[in-house]
């Protein structure tokens, strides 16, 4: 499994929002550009419900909001960065979240979903990769870094 197989250039952004809610909404809007997603409201509710159960700030400045939802066949991924860190995004090590990877998977794609989550965690744990990503000046550069980090 490779990151570049699931990263879409159109679903990458430099985040404008300053707090968690705005950042998540920004990424939801981005991810809803995918034709497979029909109901934005459903995605929004599911993402925020999951965050209410436990924040997806997994440490080392990474946030991975993720859900599985009915009616989607492939894995849809949106990536955003916020150099200053996202306010209000609780993490297990208290390091502010600077990279947010939003994952939306099909309800029955359990194996793929778990594998991809694992891939994201292992890739972004690498300090060098993380530093490069955070320093990206624009979406294009961010995309290049992401797909070349295999």
């Amino acid at each position: 499994m490779k990151l570049k197989d699931y990263i879409d250039e159109k679903l990458i952004c430099l985040l404008k929002g300053k707090n968690k809610e705005k950042v998540l909404l920004e990424l939801i809007n981005l991810i809803c550009q995918n034709k497979e997603i029909g109901n934005r409201q459903e995605i929004k509710e599911a993402i925020f419900y999951r965050e209410k159960l436990m924040s997806t700030g997994i440490g080392l400045g990474i946030g991975v909001p993720h859900i599985r939802i009915k009616g989607i066949k492939e894995l849809i991924v949106a990536v955003g960065i916020k150099k200053e860190g996202v306010a209000g995004y609780e993490t297990i090590d208290n390091i502010p979240v600077k990279i947010v990877v939003m994952i939306v998977a099909g309800e029955k794609e359990h194996k793929l979903y778990i594998k991809f989550l694992s891939l994201v965690v292992s890739k972004f744990k690498d300090n060098e990769v993380r530093e490069k990503i955070i320093k990206a000046k624009n979406e294009k550069e961010l995309y290049e870094i992401l797909i070349s980090s295999e």
């Binding site: 999951r50 436990m54 997806t56 440490g59 991975v64 778990i114 694992s118 965690v121």
Partner: protein, 552 residues
Amino acid sequence: MVNESRLNILMLIGLTVLLGTAGARLFKKFRVPQVMAFILIGFFLGDSALGIINKELLFSFSSFNIFVLGIIGFLIGGELKKEIFEKYGKQFVNILLAEGLLAFVLVTLLVVLLGNLFFENTAFVWALGLLLGAIAAATAPAATTDVLWEYKTRGPLTTTILGIVGLDDGLSLLLFAAASSVTFGIMGRGETGISQIFLRIIYDSGGSVVIGAIGGLFLSLIVRKISDKYGIITFSLGIIVLILGISKLLKCDTLLSAMTAGVFITNYIPRKSREVFELINELTPSLYVLFFTFFGAQINLTNLTFPIMLLSFVYLIGRTTGKGLGANLGARISKAPKTVQKYLPWCLFSQASTAIGLSILSLQRFPGEIGNSIVVIITTTTFIVQIIGPLAIRIAITGAGEAGLNITEEDIIRESKAKDIMDATIPLIFENMSLTEILKIFGQTDNLYYPVVNENKKLLGVITVDHIKNSLMTSGLDTFLLAYDLMEPVIAKTSPDLPMIEVQEILNRYNLEYLPVISAENKVLGFLEKRQISRKISTRLIELQKQAESLG
């Protein structure tokens, strides 16, 4: 004309089956054995009440009655395995002789004592006493076994009842042959000597046993080679009917012949014969409805006079006391289990076709007052004991703790609902539980599937051992994965009151291994796992088997 008559018969059969079955269902609500409903409805359709089922129709069904009795005899024979004879053989003989002979003696004496007050002719009174005494020894196998099968009984009392009711008709026939001979003598029409009576008895019982054994051997050889159930059932029915026909032709005892065939195949091909008996047994409910309803219809209570009413009363007292005391005495002598000693006396009240048949034979052999009186007394008392008898058996088998012990896996499934089988102690996994917490729960229980619920315990999904395996194989996720992330959607769920048959249909239809049981508010009440359903049913069957064995 012929067509019209046939149509009427068909209509009557349809009406009888429908009313009988509807009545039985109604009676079941009041926990009354179905056989009583059949007989009462038959009685109201018969000549004594509405007159819808008349004598001509009943006569045309005489062969059908022999057939049903033959089927019953065959099934009773199937219960009498070699081990049963070895274990209960002595007990059967003791009880049979005690209850049969005591009923014979008491009825004879009481009828003679009371008869002397009404009739001047002593010979007539003794003849009446002896013949009624002989008839009193018989117990109706059909009505008795129907109650046992309806309540799915198993245990020493059930085995003893089956052994006794299958054999005491034979004793009654022997006593009747002897009583007839004595009656011929005392009435001055001595035609038969003692030696001839014994020859007749040996011919009757020996002939029946030989016919039954040969039929049983043929049936064993045939069914051993076939495996399809249609083949088994048609060959079995064909041979049973042939056995009955030959017995009738040679004037042997049809019930004893069919019973011998049953005994033969259950001991000669024990494993294969189970299939034969199960298939034949499936036929009996529909046959019983007609058999007992027609039986009820032939009861005629229109010729009751005061002396006959009194004689009927003392016949009942003598027979009930004789059978009750005799059964208890026989059970004590043979050191039968306490439940048999206590409850068997309540199980031998029913009298039916053998008694009616012998009363009709009395009318043929002794036309006039003796024959007529016997027919009316037997008809009247049969009506009473057929109403009381099944009820007494139900009370006895329940008291002995044998009801419901003879059930199969299918019976348990048929009679259970989801709530009876579900695992109500399944641990709930809350949606915000971490992988570490989930693993802790998995370690404490042996389930393969767990319901995932929200804080209000409403069902959201299911976590399987497979999901956890996938998550464990990937690293770095244990800190942030929750049950919510790992659960799979619920494809189907059930209410607690759904019958298990329908639960199994759902499991098969969706190819599922589990089914959550939920309330109307979607709260988890329990969980059904396919492998645990089988385990639970097997455990229940073993429990029932042990319970039956512990009774004796």
